[in-house]
């Protein structure tokens, strides 16, 4: 029986901590990549990123509804995956429009990064209002297709264990899409001429100009990538949980924490940071009582919930990690730019 207890404890942990943290971490990683790339290439903290994600997700939902009304669905897969490329195009175009109408003016003025940041707050409010205006402030679920990959009941029945493991199909989709996105992005940045030019421009703007790298092209491609990353992250998060504009605004804190903890400006750092934040958030708010009951002899069993922090405080965790990192290692885990 002892062995089963350990297995049960591990399944419990996998079900409530590891699986959710991996999928949430992947969503944060893709989101943080968008923030870190704006920071690296355009040199400002883009506070509008959360609402850009919300705009991208809204567009994907609208396309999903359109496809569903036309009778097109993804079968076992969510229809939103078919809508995703269309949403990416629309969001990327929006990014280019915002850049042309707003950011370019400040770039010509050679404004300070703080000015850009405040401008991005303005863009954030406008995007936020636009999204609420179009789709409303309510919670929406736009998931269709097969909901579970592994159901708790089936798992229990087939293994005979007391604890069940649930893996939602959205969690697997999140991980697969995130991995593909990261591979494509890293391939682009490391191997293609334009990707290298982007890194060169980010590293040394003056020398990039002297090498004939066209800054307008670099800025344009950056916004297209950022639009795509924001849409992907937003849709994955919305599929996994639900879409509510305000939630996306709230995600700004864990997203920035992820980018900064990993080392802002460093794409690998953003990915690692995403998982660090997700795992800390979930591990520190999980109640381990049942886990210990499986593992410890009866007289040592905890009487309380053995929960480090209430889930209400999950945003505080990103904040605490952010503060600790900024005090101890301001450049982040991977050598990013100091901010």
């Amino acid at each position: 029986m002892e062995n089963f207890d350990i297995l049960n404890a591990l399944i419990l942990l996998a079900n409530f901590v590891i699986v959710p943290a991996i999928s949430y971490g992947s969503q944060l990683a893709i989101a943080a990549l968008g923030i870190t790339i704006v920071y690296a290439v355009l040199r400002f903290s883009n506070f509008a990123h959360g609402d850009l994600m919300s705009f991208g997700t809204m567009t994907a939902i609208l396309f999903t509804w359109l496809f569903q009304s036309l009778g097109i669905t993804g079968g076992v897969l969510p229809t939103a995956l078919i809508a995703l490329p269309f949403a990416i195009v629309v969001t990327a175009l929006l990014c280019l429009l915002i850049d042309k109408s707003v950011y370019r003016f400040y770039r010509k003025q050679k404004s300070h990064a703080v000015v850009f940041m405040i401008v991005s707050v303005g863009v954030m409010f406008i995007l936020n209002a636009t999204v609420r205006f179009i789709i409303g402030p309510n919670d929406r679920t736009f998931f269709d297709g097969e909901k579970f990959l592994i159901r708790a009941l089936d798992f229990k029945a087939s293994t005979g264990l007391e604890e069940g493991l649930t893996i939602k199909s959205t969690q697997l989709i999140t991980v697969i899409v995130a991995i593909i996105t990261m591979l494509l992005l890293f391939y682009f940045l490391q191997k293609t001429k334009m990707g290298k030019a982007m890194r060169a421009y980010s590293n040394n703007e003056d020398l990039a100009l002297l090498s004939g790298i066209n800054p307008d092209r670099v800025v344009m491609i950056t916004w297209i990538i950022v639009g795509a990353l924001a849409t992907i992250a937003g849709v994955l998060y919305g599929l996994d949980k639900s879409f509510k504009p305000f939630t996306y605004f709230q995600l700004l804190l864990p997203m920035f924490a992820a980018a900064i903890v990993g080392g802002i400006g460093n794409p690998i750092g953003a990915v690692v940071g995403g998982y660090i934040i997700a795992f800390s958030e979930i591990m520190l708010t999980y109640a381990y009582k049942k886990f210990f009951i499986y593992l410890l002899p009866e007289h040592l069993e905890p009487s309380g919930l053995t929960q480090f922090l209430s889930t209400d405080y999950k945003f505080a965790i990103s904040f605490i990690i952010l503060v600790i990192v900024l005090i101890i290692r301001p450049t982040g885990v991977f050598r990013g730019k100091t901010i």
Binding site: K196, A197, A200, L210, G212
Partner: protein, 226 residues
Amino acid sequence: MTGGYGGVDILNNCGIEVNQGEISVVVGPNGAGKSTAMKAMLGMITLKSGEVILNGKDISGLTPEDRVAQGIAFVPQTMNIFSELTVEENLEMGAFLRNDNINKTIEDVYKLFPILKDKKNQLAGELSGGQRQQVAVGRALMTKPSVLMLDEPTAGVSPIVMDELFDRIIEIKNTGVAIIIVEQNAKQALSIADFGYVLVGGKNKFTGKGSELLNNPEVRKAFLGG
């Protein structure tokens, strides 16, 4: 050339010339306008009067990027490499405007600076000062320029590295590239110069063959420490 930043003219009617396969060296005290002259030739500041002519063509109206495409290459004094890119990527970025095969040019640069070939996958920012200068010069050579401009290439490197760098610059010159160097190390620079310019207050104070300037007592007294 006459021009400067804002209202003040740093350059007052000065002129610098270089022929293919020759080295011109610009020396002078701090604030004489040496770097400004170079920026003017590159188009980073606008001239009030005067012109920049490349191979008989007036390029005064072109942007710096267009001038690079026309065959001017510039190695700035500082921040002259992409420190977060590998050595090879630095060279590739130097050739950004080219659409033909650049492998031959990369090999040529490696032949000129063999150490760079060994370190081609290392980040340029991790190299020593002398090696960084080699990366910087190599990057500039990737466009196959007709004029190479170097802003104080020996600043902050050891004397041995400096000699080596000058040797390489002579090798580059021998391939038919015209080279303009702005230097603080006036003595060494003038010794490899075909032609020298001593700039004071934005004017050509002395001009002449490198050896002539080195032997000119006035120049020696004022700038070369006797």
